[in-house]
């Protein structure tokens, strides 16, 4: 179930600014969504890393980029659902939960 959702989301992002690179090449890093917070709130990764967010709360959350320049936007993630983005280009990508906007995080690619 979770895998299927992830694949669907990845497919949806193919061709977007960030590009869903081939999973083979991508190193994977996780961000947990627990207790209404992104953990870790700041994650630093190398270019080409796939970042996977998994919602561990009973409450739905989203992963929504804060900038229009590099858009990524998950659907509402229910308990145990995941979302991933491959970050190819160096930069700082701030994001938040569009359901609970006080939840903020960032991915630093360098």
């Amino acid at each position: 179930m979770t895998k299927k959702i992830m694949r669907g989301i990845l497919a949806a992002f193919a061709g977007a600014v960030l590009m869903a690179g081939t999973a083979l090449a991508a190193d994977t890093k996780a961000v947990a969504i627990s207790n209404f917070a992104f953990d870790p709130p700041t994650l630093t990764v190398a270019p080409g890393t796939k970042v996977v967010w998994t919602n561990h709360d009973e409450e739905p959350h989203t992963v929504t980029s804060a900038s229009k320049a590099a858009p990524f936007k998950s659907a509402g993630l229910d308990t145990d659902e995941a979302f991933s983005v491959v970050f190819n280009r160096p930069g700082t990508y701030k994001y938040f939960c569009s359901i609970h906007p006080h939840m903020v995080g960032e991915i630093v690619v360098k």
Binding site: F36, P60, A75, G76, H102
Partner: protein, 319 residues
């Protein structure tokens, strides 16, 4: 823990409205509920057993329900549809039939059409004239398209907000769960604020105003997003009115406050409770023992009489 809370706001068009304001003074966090201490001879039993006060005095009764979260399956309440039905049964058992029902949002849990349809099916069994606004759970992924298609008010502004009059009371339904920006709570936005200013123009200051919105319109706990960033602007337009009653949802518990001529109330959910501010690592659904759940869910009854104003009484599903 008794989560029943009663308050009586005696601010009507026929009195200046300052005398009794000092009565609602003391708000105490007590475990998982809120207790209100009252003084000054306000009849504490009012509304709970049900004198048919309102209809005898030329007024009317209406009810508020909130946060039904249809589609929620978590341990805090695996059957929110059943508890919503129990909430409607509470309302049906009131001594006088409410003229209106207000739903202050989070009708669904994940904004799914199937959830919204299931909620609509249950809610229509109440056979009440029901007015809705969305919660953030009702606008996930589609900015509320599926929600508004089912529960939108005819003639509402493109953003979903609207107002109407009933029995001498002006009701304003605000949407503060769209256009969120990082690091904030609820947002009304400049377009809606402009509409509100316009909507209130020409209304006499003695018109009782009821404002409904999902996220609290005052800062209850901004660390958890329990606030609306630009609500202050709205109150600059509401300030001149002699009686303003604000009805919110979102936090799944009763918190009330009186500030000058404005009375603020958040409501219990019909689905599951949430922790008191700062009393848990997060504001997520709070699991309580099964026998306790019903005492933390409920509905709000509000009686309006022209001579005495609005009086609110919260009824738990256990009461």
């Amino acid at each position: 823990m008794d989560t029943t809370s009663i308050d009586r706001q005696s601010i009507g068009p026929n009195e200046p409205g300052h005398t009794r304001r000092g009565l609602l003074k003391c708000m105490a966090w007590a475990g998982t509920g809120i207790l209100w201490t009252m003084s000054g001879g306000v009849p504490k039993g009012f509304g709970l057993g049900g004198e048919a006060v309102a209809s005898e005095t030329g007024g009317f009764t209406f009810v508020q329900i909130s946060d039904s979260h249809i589609g929620f399956k978590g341990a805090a309440n695996p059957a929110p549809d059943a508890t919503l039905q129990q909430a409607l049964a509470k309302i049906a058992a009131l001594p006088n039939r409410p003229a209106l029902m207000l739903h202050t949002g989070d009708v669904s849990h994940l904004s799914k059409p199937a959830e919204l349809d299931a909620a609509a099916e249950i809610l229509k069994t109440a056979r009440l004239d029901t007015h809705f606004i969305p919660g953030e759970h009702d606008v996930i992924g589609d900015d509320g398209k599926a929600f508004f298609a089912r529960f939108g008010a005819p003639g509402a502004a493109p953003g979903g907000w609207y107002s109407f009059d009933h029995g001498g009371v002006h009701f304003i339904a605000l949407v503060n769960v769209l256009g969120f920006t990082p690091g904030t709570g609820g947002t009304l936005g400049p377009t809606q604020l402009e509409w509100l200013e316009d909507d209130l123009k020409g209304k006499g200051a003695s018109t009782p105003i009821v404002v409904m919105a999902h996220v609290p319109l005052w800062p209850i706990y901004p660390q958890w997003g329990w606030t609306t960033g630009d609500a202050g602007q709205a109150f600059t337009y509401l300030r001149r009115f002699g009686s303003v009653t604000v009805l919110n949802g979102h936090i799944h518990q009763i918190v009330q406050k009186v500030e000058d001529k404005v009375t603020f109330h958040t409501a219990m959910s019909t689905a599951f409770p949430q922790p008191a501010p700062g009393q848990a690592p997060s504001p997520g659904p709070m699991k309580v023992p099964a026998d306790k759940l019903k005492s933390m869910l409920g509905v709000r009854r509000i009686d309006y009489a022209p001579a005495t104003g609005l009086a609110a009484a919260d009824l738990t599903l256990a009461s």
